[in-house]
């Protein structure tokens, strides 16, 4: 049995029944990483010793007869913008290449509490700015389905690691699509929770009004399990909602009869790859076949979502990233005076995509530009939110392609072609502006590459998204396919 092909909940059963120990599971994952990561390049930092220490502790607890949660002993990995105490957290940037946080993110504490085994930290676009993981200051991550293609981004390492069997699940972060898009490109399940569902304490910010941490998993059941472990109010993050967290896994069932699903026509317009369109249409037919009522609808302000998203996100980033100045943490490049040190540090510490976004964001907030750019965007954001509110008066959820295309080739839309890369955000950013939950799951393959279906729900309707995704998954086979990364 190749443990690395299992889902987290399948491994969990084996651990619980003691057919497999946490140390064995960890060994399997680390062997897998050894075998494939030189090609996939998902990991920025590996924490092998810590992982074995945690695994031994879980095995010891189990042999003492302690009751352990469903995630105990399951190896996982984290996007490298999630702070881990004592383990460097780089945001895939030269700026933080050697930065070791003195504190840890709330999600990390919660997973540790649940007995999770941390294998390491995953590559990403620098400061989560990008859609290909090529803006990483270290190296690009490859798509396990085709090593010449990108895994998507910014949580490219998180998606690729799950697809390649290097981790049983991972956490990523999503600001404008950074979980959903790589999940679609890599053929895994990715959930961006409702804004405020999961604590951001310890998540290094890109754009705090949209950033959310979420799981990337091999199937929907795993997604529910992981969400349960990390969701809920956190007194360290005043933007988290003080709402009870339902048992997402218990809520999974395949009955979606009578559920009303809206299909916004703006997501099936020009620019959508015809083969992707056909696959997504067939997936919608499948939902109808399972008893859902699917109707075409409209989100009229969709075309403004992308520019609005850029203005809001870049403005927020220009504020949040002002702290990287070489004074008290991170990279310091000396200068003759403090101003020169600031400039030298930021010049060398940030890559071109980050600089581009910081300059645009700074410009949008400057006196004289604020009303025309930031404030206008904030108003359009309200219109976009209202589009969704109107739609959810009629529909239980909305369904769209996650991305208008399959994973593109390395270099095709990277650093030097910012506008081409921008197109990758166009199907996911409206949801981010509205703060809604959305899930991407595999719904077919085009030329051997995965296609993602995006399910969008009203705020805090994660259980509903998971149920529909589960119904689809239980009636299809796409989630069982694994990329052919033949071990050398």
């Amino acid at each position: 049995m190749n443990l690395c092909e299992l889902t987290a909940h399948e491994l969990g059963e084996l651990l619980k029944s003691r057919q497999v120990s946490a140390v064995e599971a960890t060994e399997a994952a680390i062997n897998r990483i050894e075998a494939v990561d030189s090609r996939v390049q998902a990991f920025v930092t590996r924490t092998v010793e810590e992982a074995f220490a945690q695994a031994r502790a879980v095995d010891a607890a189990r042999s003492r007869g302690e009751t352990l949660g469903p995630l105990a002993g399951i190896p996982m990995a984290l996007k490298d913008n999630i702070c881990t105490v004592g383990i460097r957290t780089t945001c895939s940037s030269r700026m933080l290449a050697d930065w070791v946080p003195p504190y840890e993110a709330t999600v990390v504490s919660r997973l540790k509490e649940a007995g999770a085994i941390l294998l390491g930290k995953l590559n990403m676009d620098e400061f989560a700015m990008g859609a290909t993981t090529e803006t990483s200051a270290f190296f690009p991550t490859r798509n396990p389905w085709d090593l010449e293609r990108v895994p998507g981004g910014s949580s490219g390492g998180s998606a690729a690691a799950v697809a390649a069997g290097e981790a049983f699940y991972t956490l990523g972060s999503d600001t404008g699509g950074s979980i959903r898009q790589p999940a679609a490109f890599c053929g895994v399940v990715g959930l961006k929770p409702t804004y405020g569902r999961v604590s951001r304490h310890g998540l290094i910010a890109f754009a705090p009004s949209m950033d959310q941490i979420g799981p990337l998993t091999r199937d929907v059941t795993d997604c529910a399990l992981i969400l349960n472990a990390v969701a809920g109010h956190d007194s360290s993050d005043c933007t988290t909602a003080d709402l009870p967290v339902p048992d997402y896994r218990a809520a999974l069932n395949t009955d979606i009869k009578g559920l009303k699903i809206g299909v916004p026509r703006e997501y099936f317009a020009d620019g959508l790859d015809p083969e992707v369109a056909a696959i997504v249409r067939r997936a919608i037919d499948k939902l109808a076949e399972l008893g859902a009522i699917c109707e075409e609808t409209s989100l009229p302000h969709t075309e403004y979502a992308l520019p609005t998203y850029y203005l809001v996100a870049y403005a927020e980033a220009s504020s949040n990233l002002a702290r990287y100045d070489g004074v008290s943490f991170g990279l310091r490049v000396p200068g003759r005076d403090i101003e020169e040190m600031n400039i030298n540090t930021r010049t060398e510490g940030f890559g071109p995509e980050v600089k581009r976004r910081l300059m645009l964001g700074t410009y949008a907030l400057e006196a004289g530009n604020y009303e025309a750019f930031y404030l206008k965007a904030a108003k359009v954001r309200t219109l976009i939110r209202q589009d969704f509110e109107a739609a959810f008066n009629k529909y239980d959820l909305l369904v769209t392609p996650t991305e208008p295309m399959v994973a593109f080739r390395l270099g095709e839309k990277g650093n030097k072609k910012p506008l081409a890369m921008a197109a990758a955000d166009s199907y996911t950013s409206a949801v981010s502006l509205a703060g809604l939950p959305a899930l991407s799951l595999p719904c077919g393959f085009s030329q051997g590459l995965p296609v993602g279906l995006q399910l969008i729900g009203p705020s805090f309707a994660e259980a509903r998204l998971l149920r529909v995704a589960y119904a689809f998954e239980q009636n299809t086979e796409y989630h069982r396919r694994r990329p052919a990364l033949e071990v050398a």
């Binding site: 702070c83 504190y103 005043c238 927020e316 504020s319 100045d325 991170g330 907030l365 006196a367 604020y370």
Partner: protein, 476 residues
């Protein structure tokens, strides 16, 4: 030409909350550098702020006391500037929705009551402290982040002040109110009360404003007044010489008694404020405002009026007594035991205040509790001691901390009111001063004072003065 000064003050008050505004670090003053810090106030990547509710409560309280409208909805905005005293390179402040606006306070200068507008009261975080060390290559700087994130209220006046004396009176009144509210220590020397001034001059009668200069680094009420006097004169001289005032920020140099230019103000792209997404907006409902309003202490103006209405104190006395909450509290507690309010007021404004100053004490720290002052006044009123002896006794009470009766008894200071014994002494004094007696009988009534003094001297001040007068007149 005659000129008029236009002055507005921006006052920063450190609030005396236990913890900082966005994290749980201590706010206490004087700790070792960088010991009262955490990932949040150091601005480390991934940290998030959580607003301290007590700061909002103090903000509402202060806004109400300054007759402001309290915002029902307010938010924080990052104010960006690159300087290492703010580790995030921005400061969380309130840009367009301050917690309080459109308020006022009253000042009394040279008997004139003036109403000074308060444009806004807003909450923000304090910055750290930089220490510059000289050395080769320009030396280096150290930064202490203990103060970073200590809660501040910024209170901005309207440009309603017309003289340095008014500015000082405004500042003193504001401090008194903040003391009454118990929201700040208000120690200018420790920096818990700081003041910047915007000042311009214009020909009297003109309706347009002159060029505004921002004056910083005034660390006491006296230096505020001196700096403004200097700056106004400097600006008037420039205009008189046909020159122009250039917009600038200047620093007051206390030792040299001059202002020097810190930076010339030019075009700026602003502070790039926008609503901070990491801090949820604060909704302040009317129930909250009402509760704080109910809990407001009696404020200086109301208290002053009460002293006038209830005790018949003159305005001047009421003003002096209520200028310090501690002194006013002391007054109330003394009057409760010794109801002659004017006598209490005279003593508090006179010898009591003099002795406090001499011992460098605040009224609340006086070694003489109100019941002992009341006892002293009682002894005087009963005639047990004279007024002169009473002053002497108070001095001793301050020095030793002993009670009034104890001092009087230990030092044998009980007044001599025995007519027979005093009559004997009076006779002796008259016998010893025939020339003065002669003068008095020839109509020099002033001579009586000398004779009273001689009797007092002979009795070491213990003679009952009324009785001495009576006996002298009888025997003369």
């Amino acid at each position: 030409m005659e000129y008029e000064a236009i002055i507005g003050l921006e006052v920063h008050v450190e609030l005396k909350t236990k913890s900082k505004i966005f994290c749980s670090c201590s706010t206490s003053f004087g700790a070792e550098p960088n010991t009262q810090v955490c990932p949040i106030c150091l601005g480390l990547p991934g940290t998030l702020p959580v607003t301290n509710r007590q700061v909002v409560e103090f903000g509402i309280k202060t806004a109400l006391a300054l007759n402001c409208q309290v915002a029902s909805y307010c938010k924080f905005d990052p104010k960006h500037y690159y300087y290492p005293d703010v580790p995030k390179n921005f400061q969380w402040s309130q840009f367009d929705m301050p917690i309080g606006s459109n308020g006022h306070l009253q000042i009394n200068v040279d008997g004139e009551e003036l109403v000074i507008g308060i444009a806004r009261v807003h909450m923000e975080e304090d910055a750290g402290k930089l220490i510059h060390i000289d050395g080769p290559d320009g030396g280096y700087s150290l930064v202490d982040y203990n103060r970073t994130g200590v809660p501040l209220l910024e209170i901005v006046s309207e440009p309603d002040l017309r003289s340095p004396a008014q500015a000082r009176a405004y500042m003193e009144k504001l401090r008194t109110i903040l003391h009454y509210l118990d929201v700040s220590d208000c120690k200018m020397e420790e920096g818990s009360l700081r003041c910047d001034a915007n000042v311009s001059v214009r020909p009297r009668g003109s309706s347009t404003y002159g060029t505004k200069i921002e004056v910083k680094n005034m660390n006491s009420f006296r230096s505020l007044q001196r700096a403004l006097e200097y700056e106004i004169e400097r600006q008037v001289n420039l205009l008189e010489n046909g020159e122009q005032v250039q917009p600038a920020t200047v620093a007051w140099d206390e030792s040299r008694g001059v202002t020097t230019v810190m930076r010339v103000k030019g075009e700026s792209s602003g502070y790039r404020c926008f609503p901070e997404p990491n801090l949820v907006p604060i909704e302040i409902d009317s129930a909250w405002i009402e509760r704080v309003r109910q809990e407001l202490p009696e404020l200086p103006d109301a208290r002053r009026q009460r002293l006038i209405d209830d005790y018949g104190l003159p305005l001047y006395d009421a003003e002096v007594i209520t200028s310090s909450k501690e002194l006013a509290d002391y007054f109330d507690r003394t009057v409760a035991l010794y109801p002659d309010a004017k006598t209490v007021s005279n003593w508090l404004m006179g010898d009591f205040s003099r002795l406090l100053n001499a011992h460098n004490l605040e009224p609340g720290q006086a070694p003489v509790p109100p019941q002992e002052l009341a006892a002293l006044l009682q002894l005087q009123q009963e005639g047990t001691i004279s007024g002169k002896i009473a002053k002497q006794v108070l001095e001793e009470m301050f020095a030793s901390g002993k009670g009034a009766r104890q001092v009087v008894e230990e030092q044998g200071l009980i007044q001599i009111s025995d007519a027979a014994a005093l009559g004997q002494i009076v006779a002796e004094v008259l016998a010893a001063n025939p020339k003065v007696v002669e003068d008095y009988r020839n109509g020099k009534t002033k001579a009586l004072g000398f004779l009273v003094g001689q009797v007092m001297k002979a009795t070491k001040g213990k003679a009952n003065p009324g009785l001495v007068n009576k006996l002298l007149k009888e025997q003369l």
